[in-house]
Assembly symmetry: C2
């Protein structure tokens, strides 16, 4: 497997693009994106578990109930959530796009991201659809990635090539992250394409299995969004023998999917609202998988750990504290903690108590843009990794006046 | 019942004081406090549920196993947690104080607050105990309250007088709050005194019942401290007939206790680290008590709601979002939300969708130092209130470099 260029357009048969439709005033970036598969694709998606769900999710769920889709349309600047007419607006968006593309309306996946509770005006979308469908091309992944950004500061795209039964397949993804990121059996907005042939049933198995260890292990701010969705389109254009059951080919597919999703997770974490650094918490030696995940997420979610990391302060007591209140079974007297980055690794706690360490070296390690907090437990053999970011002045600034 | 002066010294038979022992370098406030009951008192306490527990909690739990205590000693500047010799240091502290006061060592409640994982040197405490026991007086509540402050900016004390069977009783409390505040069946450090005669069994019932609706409904930053404790000493000096069972007198006692604890909750919330305003979330019409509490806490804990309140931004979509991911059963289409303060009240959402409102008036309401978010559900008759504060630049500043 290797990383390649091209994002969601890397796989054969996918076009993408984005335009500025003017959905939110003052926006200068693109705000309406389209991903289009030239062949009918199998589709799978996972959605937010938030009980307040964006109207686009309801429509998407209906549309891909048959496991098929051709196009993904997504606007930023407005979440189309908690609006009395939200469902109708999302339906109309699908219909307008389908008419323009001459496809079925229920082959459209629709998504929205932005402010909750402000009516989404269909007019700018309606007016922009003609230029949107002309914008798509084999080189349009970055434009589509731009069109779904909210407070993101960086485009998020990735692609890999991999081998299924001697046939080269490709997979690509784009994502938006930044704030309201604390997925729970779902995630932020992530659109993945592949030309690998895989049945929609196995595509669902693959996606459902993967998100537990990837997107559900990311947290920026503990807030689970109303509009989270990850969706994968598999159009089979690579020409491999369709994957219809578990086995070697499915394992290869899972590896490719996991490579793409972990890469996106780290990009989302690194570009969390206001973040100056990406944090990774690796937990080893946990009693079971659930305990490992719970502890890793508890550390990554702690406001106090996050603020200490912003200050490059090796305040490991806060890591212990977050382990202790996680609710997971843990023998506190067997906990060891170290901080690690490109500059090296420094043990700060062994068997539940502090060890002497150089504050200067710790600071040097923690000033790096990617920091790993390693937690070793003495409870068993399970491990897990979670990703997040530091808590900074800019997080407060961005969210103190985001809406107006 | 009425509010009175005097804090923990308001009840008859209690003396308090505090001194600067020099536990943490550069501190200019007092850092070692003592509350002393001239008569043997019944004692009850609740502790943090964090699995990482401060050594002082272990010692306190042993010492009040018999339901009796005479003195509370508490230092700030060091939590005495995650230290190999922590238990011995806490035990020695009790012994040194008991010798000086000529009481039993197991009549001492010991508490610590501050940095986790740095050995607590017994020497400054040992040296300060003579002047500490000379510092206590009937006017020393404020000094004791100062000695337990960490990043608190305000002294927290309160006292009330109430009537049990025709006898005037008094109750007072001091607290430290500020950061790492997200109690779970326990709380931050709160010391309450009363001269009311009540059995230690009923004192435990009273405290255990009260904290569920008070301290456990406060969150500053979602981090449950390792050193949380609320303790009540009841020395019986008021001369009322001892409360030994439920009934009118017990109900009166509960009212007094609730008045003291709610007052302290609000003070802790208002003085959360970096806070510019106190937030209160009132939930009505919930399916049951658990749902009401879960929703109220979810709203008060949301980083996005907290940051919006800092910016006085009526971003009610974030309130809906927090209700939705709380995990509580809720019919989203029946949710109404309004913002309220001394300036008035403004409805912003009805039946799960936005209503038109004046942004100017909303801003005026949200600029006040105490803001209530009222959530009305259509699911049942249960209600709950939670308290918290906004998320500000100063929270990040305080916690980005607290330890060094």
């Amino acid at each position: 497997m290797k990383f390649i260029e091209g994002g969601v357009c890397a796989p054969t048969g996918f076009l993408a693009g984005g335009v500025l439709a003017g959905i939110k005033k003052n926006r200068t970036k693109r705000d309406l994106s389209l991903i289009f598969s030239q062949a009918e694709a199998n589709a799978a998606a996972v959605y937010t578990t938030n009980k307040v769900k964006g109207a686009p999710l309801t429509v998407t769920k209906e549309n891909i109930a048959n496991g098929k889709a051709r196009a993904i349309i997504c606007n930023s600047g407005n979440a189309n959530t908690c609006n009395a007419d939200g469902y109708d607006v999302a339906k109309t968006t699908c219909q307008l796009l389908a008419d323009a593309l001459e496809i079925d309306s229920d082959d459209v996946i629709v998504a929205s991201t932005g402010v909750i509770g402000q009516p989404l005006n269909i007019e700018p979308i309606k007016n922009a659809i003609p230029k949107l469908i002309h914008s798509i091309s084999e080189n349009g992944s970055a434009e589509a990635a731009e069109g779904i950004m909210t407070t993101d500061t960086k485009l998020k795209e990735v692609a890999v090539s991999f081998n299924i039964g001697g046939v080269e397949c490709k997979m690509g993804g784009i994502a938006k992250g930044s704030g309201m990121i604390h997925p729970n059996m779902a995630t932020m907005l992530v659109f993945i394409t592949t030309d690998c042939a895989i049945s929609s049933e196995m595509l669902n198995v693959a996606l459902g299995g993967d998100v537990k260890n990837t997107f559900n292990m990311v947290s920026i701010d503990g807030d689970t969004s109303t509009n989270d969705m990850v969706t994968v389109l598999a159009n089979g254009c690579a020409g491999n023998e369709e994957i219809i059951s578990k086995g070697t080919d499915f394992d290869e597919f899972m590896k490719a999917l996991n490579t793409v999703t972990v890469n996106i997770c780290k990009k989302i974490a690194a570009d969390g609202e206001g973040a100056t650094k990406m944090l990774e918490c690796e937990v080893e030696g946990a009693a079971d998988d659930a305990a490992a995940k719970t502890i890793a997420k508890s550390v990554i979610c702690s406001s106090l750990v996050k603020a200490a990391m912003f200050g490059a302060d090796a305040n490991w007591g806060r890591v212990l504290c977050a382990i202790g209140y996680s609710g997971a079974p843990v023998d506190v007297n067997k906990v060891s903690v170290s901080f690690k980055s490109k500059k090296g690794e420094i043990p700060v706690c062994q068997n539940g108590a502090g060890v002497e360490f150089s504050e200067e070296f710790a600071k040097e390690i923690l000033l790096e843009p990617e920091v790993t907090i390693t937690v070793k437990l003495g409870d068993g053999k399970a491990s897990a990794t979670a990703w997040g970011c530091d808590l900074t002045y800019d997080y407060v600034k961005i969210n103190g006046d985001y809406r107006t």
